[in-house]
């Protein structure tokens, strides 16, 4: 099994369609999928760490390392945040921005 605690928050369909429409081989396609996966991952980590008070960073990283799939991590983060917004909403909105940014850079630039 392969799952990350934030998988249900990602839906970068449009980018997927664009990539599929450009590359020619399955190997190329999978290579680029992995690159996007890593971009998303770094973005989500940044997004969480930007908002989580520093004293909880190590606890978050340990939880993430031990059970990267555990959606309970979201509950942990929400408990430590001062703001009312759930981290789920923040991640969703940041990833939507990221997708637009990538698409714009790729196809308008």
């Amino acid at each position: 099994m392969s799952k990350l605690f934030y998988d249900h928050l990602i839906s970068l369909d449009k980018l997927g369609v664009e990539i599929k429409g450009i590359v020619e081989t399955p190997e190329e396609r999978e290579e680029l999928w992995r690159v996007v996966d890593e971009i998303v991952h770094h973005k989500v980590l940044g997004c969480v760490l930007d908002r989580l008070p520093q004293e909880y960073h190590d606890e978050f990283l340990t939880k993430f390392h031990e059970a990267p799939y555990d959606e309970g991590i979201i509950v942990f983060i929400d408990d430590k945040l001062d703001v009312e917004d759930s981290i789920e909403e923040v991640i969703k909105s940041e990833l939507a921005k990221l997708a637009n940014e990538i698409l714009q850079e790729l196809f308008d630039g």
Partner: protein
């Protein structure tokens, strides 16, 4: 190759290269931004000997090592109840007055699935999968396995998304894949994970036509042992028969695995050919909640395509 085709191919190639380099630059930028802002994150992952970019592989290893199975038996995931026996649950819904005579089996299957599955897809426990194997055999009349010959997908319950037709042989075009609504999704510009189905149109067989028509996409690329057992797994998954059941309407189809994907960040876990998707949910069906199990069919007797189980006698329960 004509001059125009060559020009088009070169143009495409440049675009693919540009796409790759832009994505890699973006990757580098977000990675550096994170390391710059939070150097202790780098130190943390280094101390664990883990490349944060490979976190998905790490997750697969953690789960695959059996931690999940052990943990799940001790602490059921949220939304999972103690499962009654398949017979009990079938009896319960059979007796409900709400079951119309028409499409009764579909309703029975939908009610059963929704009584045991969480609303939001997640990997199922072994216990839940065993239960569903019995349900599919009893109601739909198809013998399935979540784990077949030791192989198991990353998840057996997830979202399926619409795919395009696949090129079956060099020179294949969209218009040769049917007509009307079946052509709406178009044809994928690249090949499926197993390449062409045949070297030429002449070598196409009715079986291969059916395979493309009723094809499924599964995430072989994220299998924890894909990189170490590639050759074996490639062969094992090629055209492997799977049963796909939409948990919201009970429609079921037997499909064959003919491509790898979708990417994890699309929010989907499986893909279906235009024909598969059309059967599962009609012309507007682009995404649906499904269970996908391997079909246990060593003698290759179960045909690809829709499973019409309306008249299948339900084993031991309904005559």
């Amino acid at each position: 190759m004509t001059k125009a085709a060559r020009k088009n191919r070169d143009k495409k190639k440049v675009s693919a290269d540009k796409l790759r380099s832009k994505l890699k630059l973006k990757h580098l930028a977000v990675k550096e931004k994170l390391s710059g802002a939070y150097p202790h994150v780098d130190r943390f992952f280094k101390s664990k000997n883990l490349d944060p970019g490979k976190i998905r592989d790490h997750s697969a290893r953690v789960l695959g090592a059996g931690a999940m199975a052990g943990m799940l038996f001790l602490r059921p995931p949220s939304g999972m109840l103690a499962l009654p026996s398949p017979k009990e649950i079938i009896e319960k819904f059979k007796d409900e007055k709400s079951i119309a005579r028409v499409r009764a089996s579909h309703r029975l299957l939908v009610n059963t699935l929704n009584s045991v599955l969480p609303k939001r897809p997640r990997p199922l426990t072994r216990q839940e999968e065993k239960f569903l194997e019995q349900i599919f055999a009893n109601i739909a009349g198809v013998k399935t396995r979540a784990t077949l010959e030791g192989e198991h997908l990353n998840t057996t319950y997830g979202y399926i998304g619409a795919e395009q037709h696949l090129r079956r042989y060099p020179g294949d075009t969209l218009l040769q894949h049917g007509k009307g609504e079946m052509l709406k999704e178009g044809i994928a510009p690249g090949l499926g994970a197993w390449g062409y189905f045949a070297y030429s149109k002449k070598e196409m067989t009715p079986y291969l036509e059916e395979v493309e028509k009723w094809y499924a996409v599964v995430q072989t690329l994220y299998l924890p042992d894909w990189n170490t057992r590639t050759r074996y797994l490639r062969e094992w998954y090629k055209y492997r028969k799977v049963l796909i059941v939409d948990v919201d309407n009970g429609r079921a189809v037997v499909a064959s695995v003919a491509d790898s994907g979708p990417a994890a960040w699309t929010g989907k876990h499986f893909g279906g050919s235009p024909e598969v998707m059309h059967y599962l949910g009609g012309s507007r069906y682009k995404k649906g909640r499904v269970v996908l199990f391997f079909v246990d069919d060593p003698e290759n007797k179960i045909p690809l395509g829709p499973v019409d189980y309306e008249n299948v006698p339900i084993a031991g329960v309904i005559n």
